[in-house]
Assembly symmetry: D3
Amino acid sequence: MHTGLFIGRFQPFHLGHLDALKQALAENDRVIIGVGSAEENYTEDNPFTAGERFEMIESALSQEKIAREKYIIIPIRNIQNFSLWASHVKLLCPTFETLYTGSHMVKELFARHAPDIKIRDLKFNKKICATEIRTQILKGNKSWEKLVPKAITEYLKKHKAQARLKDIRLPRK
Amino acid sequence: MHTGLFIGRFQPFHLGHLDALKQALAENDRVIIGVGSAEENYTEDNPFTAGERFEMIESALSQEKIAREKYIIIPIRNIQNFSLWASHVKLLCPTFETLYTGSHMVKELFARHAPDIKIRDLKFNKKICATEIRTQILKGNKSWEKLVPKAITEYLKKHKAQARLKDIRLPRK
Amino acid sequence: MHTGLFIGRFQPFHLGHLDALKQALAENDRVIIGVGSAEENYTEDNPFTAGERFEMIESALSQEKIAREKYIIIPIRNIQNFSLWASHVKLLCPTFETLYTGSHMVKELFARHAPDIKIRDLKFNKKICATEIRTQILKGNKSWEKLVPKAITEYLKKHKAQARLKDIRLPRK
Amino acid sequence: MHTGLFIGRFQPFHLGHLDALKQALAENDRVIIGVGSAEENYTEDNPFTAGERFEMIESALSQEKIAREKYIIIPIRNIQNFSLWASHVKLLCPTFETLYTGSHMVKELFARHAPDIKIRDLKFNKKICATEIRTQILKGNKSWEKLVPKAITEYLKKHKAQARLKDIRLPRK
Amino acid sequence: MHTGLFIGRFQPFHLGHLDALKQALAENDRVIIGVGSAEENYTEDNPFTAGERFEMIESALSQEKIAREKYIIIPIRNIQNFSLWASHVKLLCPTFETLYTGSHMVKELFARHAPDIKIRDLKFNKKICATEIRTQILKGNKSWEKLVPKAITEYLKKHKAQARLKDIRLPRK
Amino acid sequence: MHTGLFIGRFQPFHLGHLDALKQALAENDRVIIGVGSAEENYTEDNPFTAGERFEMIESALSQEKIAREKYIIIPIRNIQNFSLWASHVKLLCPTFETLYTGSHMVKELFARHAPDIKIRDLKFNKKICATEIRTQILKGNKSWEKLVPKAITEYLKKHKAQARLKDIRLPRK
């Protein structure tokens, strides 16, 4: 069985993630979706909890009719010492052979510190960016709704994403 | 959809766990299997890594023909402040309504600190105990093989469990 | 007995804090003053230690003739996982019913993760801001002295606040 | 003003603590009561949270008619590096000159790492011991009730201390 | 025997460090070189691991024919609570009497929290700055090569410093 | 250049350590002495700080006329996740090729998680054991003095090791 690891922070999961994940699924029997910065939440860069991100990813993949046995979702917390991070990921996940990621840094860390893992490039749609999506949500624009799966739009509205982003962005006294 | 959380350390996953999990599965659409003490490994109480425990659980459930969409496996690390632990679990997992566990302590922590979660009792086979299984593996007895699913016996032999337990138990200089 | 929690970082305690605290005292038998980011010190945002902030608050309240049994001061350290923070605060403090804070984020975290606590708004004087006070101290202006209780002015001078802020702000080699 | 630090874990606060604290109060204008191992709870050695211990101490001292301005209660978490611990305590508390404790280890750590603090001995009633009290509560004996202030007996009964100790003591599956 | 502590992050070790170290060596029988932020690596401010920095320092000093018994290299990790940092350093190192550093902040922390240590000023060449060297490496300029010992130039090229800095600087998806 | 890593906790450094270290020195150009559990101190198992252990090792090797360029001493703190520990050690030290240790567990962790490092056995004198030495010091026997280098006997007496061990061993109130 071929298993890939697709790693990201998914704040939130968008159409660029979905497209890249489909490429990884095409090359593997199944894909582990590693949810990075899992214990960070309610910050500008990481507004959603690991549990919320799990739910978003699952709802998007369900809508796409991707079978549940094709993917596993694993929360992965940050550790301060980046050089240990690739080993940390390997210890939390079932065995995988191939890494997929849009982050050059993650590739570098695996290349140096987990040389047994193959690294494969995916075609990432660089026009879709989670930081920009969060900015648009915060501003109350609707342009972001075209950049995420429908299930994600519904999830973010239902969970009052704009209000949360505003509360986080406001200065603390 | 009804979701339960079945929480344990699974060092290793045994027939008592399997039987209890089946009871939880019978009451829910799906069950989250929370792998506790996820970042502990190579200790007497927690010899196997989170990734190894993931593989063991999955191989046992696969052998039992339990469909992959019926369960999710989430590693959950310990935090020193026990009173925060139930909240920590909730933040890492997708939404669940019901807790299943053989640990009185886990029940107490959820009852006090996560009162929105229902706690349901399962019939645990008290004759099967992971601590005793580890002791038998260490001694080189074969009696433990009857207490775990066949897939687990194979896994533990292939991964040289006895040698690991011996290395851990030997005094450090 | 009615107990409120008034939470802030108090870097330093200023007339805006004092005014808001008096409002909270008027509504409660006593108020817990939670000193946030308690283990941070000697940084730009948190130059003073928890012990120093304790002394500043106490000296200002003493000067105001606020009786000692009306307030409790509790240091509260940060934890990286914000979603756990409201529970963390509750575990460190004696029982309280009402939260007072100038931070929208703190309100949001309590609203979502500690729904048993009431949240009450206070009228904060938005013209007084600790960040601005630290900037003025650093520059050697005297304008900040009108923004803090007299006891705080004396404390900051005696403890050479300007020199500390300069040392912190200088680039590290 | 003379300030003493009286440090302990108070699991629970008993008549030996009360008697020693009174001796410290007699020598000082006020006493800081440092609640050690503040972030530990729901363990055999530390069953009660910092907030619960705060409430117990305050209720006992209130019953004794000790004025609120005579004492301050500060939670102090453990840090793994014991040699840093005396400095850690000093940073969390307002200035104090004298240390009181029943622990030889705490005395040694202050003597070596905080030589500016005086260490004074108190007469501790060695017949009263928190470990023994917890054992008696667990067993359901009533003998412990004579060893703690009345307010503590009431608090422990109201908060179902025996049930908690049982849950903690039972083996985890 | 006179022992000095020379503390820095050495990202990378440059001619300004070398010159200052020689001044410290001239005043002592030997010098402890404390490698700060030891557990940080693969970040913009701290791209190199503690082990790599050890190797760079040693290769530069070897090229300078500085005898091995004249210096000790000790990795020192950061701790979040700065006020404890001077004590933390003292516990990790053999006894020293004098501190040398280019950081005002480090001087302030030792002055307040380790008053038994003498602080001596060195003449630092302020034209050489590690931040600027990293920027030049990243841009592919060669100007930085004149600012570091030859052994460091070779080390950084051999270890592909430019590629690492690029991977770190690129935005994470 | 051949470099070995000799790893232990050295609580305290004894003749068994010295003899094994000499074997490692005979096979290498130099040896890194990794001081494990570096941030633990004032506990029964780890009574001495990293700095004290550094001084003890250095004084013993100096007395043996082992040249200073033959060895490096590096403090190595514990991390809770043992599977990451071998990588953690490699990141803190300059490059080494060979591991020497009396601990089966350390060998196992390197064999599995750092397969590029050779593991070589040394002849350890099993009659000399640091735990037993600490027990004898505590009891006030003199038998331990024959088990450590003379420099260590002097160091332990000068630093009042017996008094420290007594303070640690006494029950905390």
